[in-house]
Subunit: 339 residues, 2 copies
């Protein structure tokens, strides 16, 4: 391939995967020609779970997601999408192989602008290394949906279908402004030798964009308190916890570069080369329904749309797991499988 | 009065005001019993503009507003609501006397929690000092609307009618969370002598709450740029200007304490003692229409509602000046005045 080359697969060979227990992790080292940063040697980390030879579904989430989609027999810790994986689910490891990966830049070691096209090229290299010619499906949520669009444009032969949840063909300018300010909060923290403090604040602002006023209205309607002469509102305990949890597991540069990467994303929907189901959430404050309608229009006959209404807004994919599962079951069904 | 006493009116007497040119400024020193901070001696700064003996309309804006409502012959600099004041307008200095005041705390010298009830008591003291028994009307927008509600509860004999624009009986929990994070941005800046940097960031986040995605979508749809290895989105020039402009005229403590004051606000609508017109903006991200519907329900027979749709969201009062003027003209009309 011209765009890049897999130069090493350190941990595991395709043959080993087929024979392996139900879950393996590995990393492959590749040389990637990046759009804004020239050629780089990078490690691609993945986790592959499920029955050997079953159709492979790649599942990619938001910028905080990673290769560990869900707890399994080998890697028992909580995943980022546990509610969507399991027996009887569309993402059932007994009937599908589930591929997760760490976005390039997620380790915090790549301090350059990262394009969603770079991520898609990295996915193609990973598939090469794993001997996967074609994914049965690619399920992408948020940032993962953007990467999926690029994969479907740049490497359409590598996926049978795309499910793109809560991710449009370009970021909404209001959402971009919101993220730009979050990055400024990190920069302000860095100025003060309070890097994690800035990152926590950025995450807290991000939480407001991921959720909705409806949810906050339900949960945090208590009167504020005056504590040490300062007003403290009801949501602050929740926001404190969200910030602390995030900084404990996130490198600052990973956050900054993947946040930027969302804002760099621009594709031509007409160039998407595979059948694509777009899932939109009414009330999503980051990715407005109207932008996803535009995306589907641009996809032409390849595109279809499902709309959910949810008080969880942008986070609905992670929260409305039964409804998302029903959508995925339909989208990922094989000929002859039961409804 | 029990709550406080005017102890000095330094600059001007009521008689002087009647004989004065069309615009006077002054300040009165008062002793105020504050809800969270005990008794304080404070200066109340005001500007009074218009024909002597005309009905007085007090106009109060958001936490960044001040006593200078609009440019006039004596004080020619731009005001915060120029578009609403002028010949033929509902706020016409030839037919009304317009009273503006600086919120207590706006000078940055009062570093304690400030309640909207404190502001209302201060207004009552100011009216005492100026010899104004009863305002023809009180027009309050945003924070000014909250103060107006308190005035109408605590001193209903001092105003004939209230027009409360984009301000509810309590802050929405989502909006409170948003403001709490803005205050944290200031606190992060204060960690190491970057106080104005933090204040600028807080203001920039506030701008996102004042405006709407629709407006940003129209204005800032250009692709981002990579500048010195960092992604810069289209709205950042605008946000830079908004931040710089704000820090040039705002004391950090004024911002913090008035922002907190919004979050402290809680009133019982049934206690409002005067006819009240509530003006809501559909699409306001800070003050949802549904909260203003609740406010109007609580007001009972004293309440009525007007709803605007505007891409300017919370800032519609300052931007949709013709439509706001039409509403004010109707609300502030005297018997016998032309429609």
């Amino acid at each position: 391939m011209s765009f890049a080359t897999a130069i090493a697969a350190n941990d595991v060979s395709p043959a080993a995967i087929d024979a392996a227990p139900s879950a393996v992790r590995g990393e492959v080292t590749v040389r990637l020609a990046m759009r804004h940063a020239g050629e780089r040697v990078l490690r691609l980390r993945y986790e592959l779970v499920g029955r050997a030879h079953a159709p492979v579904v790649l599942v990619a989430g938001g910028i905080s997601a990673h290769r560990h989609i869900a707890a399994n027999a080998v890697f028992g810790e909580k995943g980022w999408a546990d509610g969507l994986v399991g027996s009887g689910r569309a993402l059932d490891p007994a009937r599908r192989r589930l591929l997760g990966f760490d976005f390039i830049g997620a380790d915090g070691d790549l301090d350059v602008p990262i394009d969603t096209a770079d991520q898609a090229d990295a996915v193609a290299l990973l598939l090469d290394a794993l001997g996967i010619d074609c994914l049965h499906g690619y399920v992408g949520y948020s940032y993962g949906a953007l990467v999926g669009q690029q994969l479907a444009i740049r490497h359409p032969q590598r996926l049978g279908r795309l499910v793109a949840v809560s991710g449009a063909h370009r970021p909404h300018p209001y959402a971009s402004a919101w993220r730009a300010l979050q990055r400024r909060a990190v920069a302000l923290g860095q100025l003060q030798c309070a890097e994690t403090h800035g990152l926590a604040l950025a995450r807290q602002f991000a939480m407001l964009s991921y959720r909705t006023p409806e949810e906050f209205g339900e949960r945090f309607d208590a009167a504020p308190e005056v504590v040490n002469g300062r007003v403290r509102v009801a949501a602050e305990d929740y926001l404190d916890a969200a910030g602390a949890q995030y900084v404990a597991r996130t490198r600052v540069d990973a956050y900054l570069r993947l946040s930027e990467s969302i804002d760099l994303h621009r594709i031509d929907p007409a160039a998407v080369g595979v059948p694509t189901l777009v899932v939109a959430v009414e009330g999503d404050r980051l990715v407005p329904l109207s932008d996803l309608v535009s995306l589907v229009e641009g996809l032409g006959t390849r595109g279809s749309l499902r709309v959910l209404r949810s008080p969880y807004g942008h986070d609905a994919f992670l929260k409305e797991t039964d409804r998302i599962d029903a959508i995925l079951a339909n989208a990922l069904r094989l000929p002859g499988e039961n409804a």
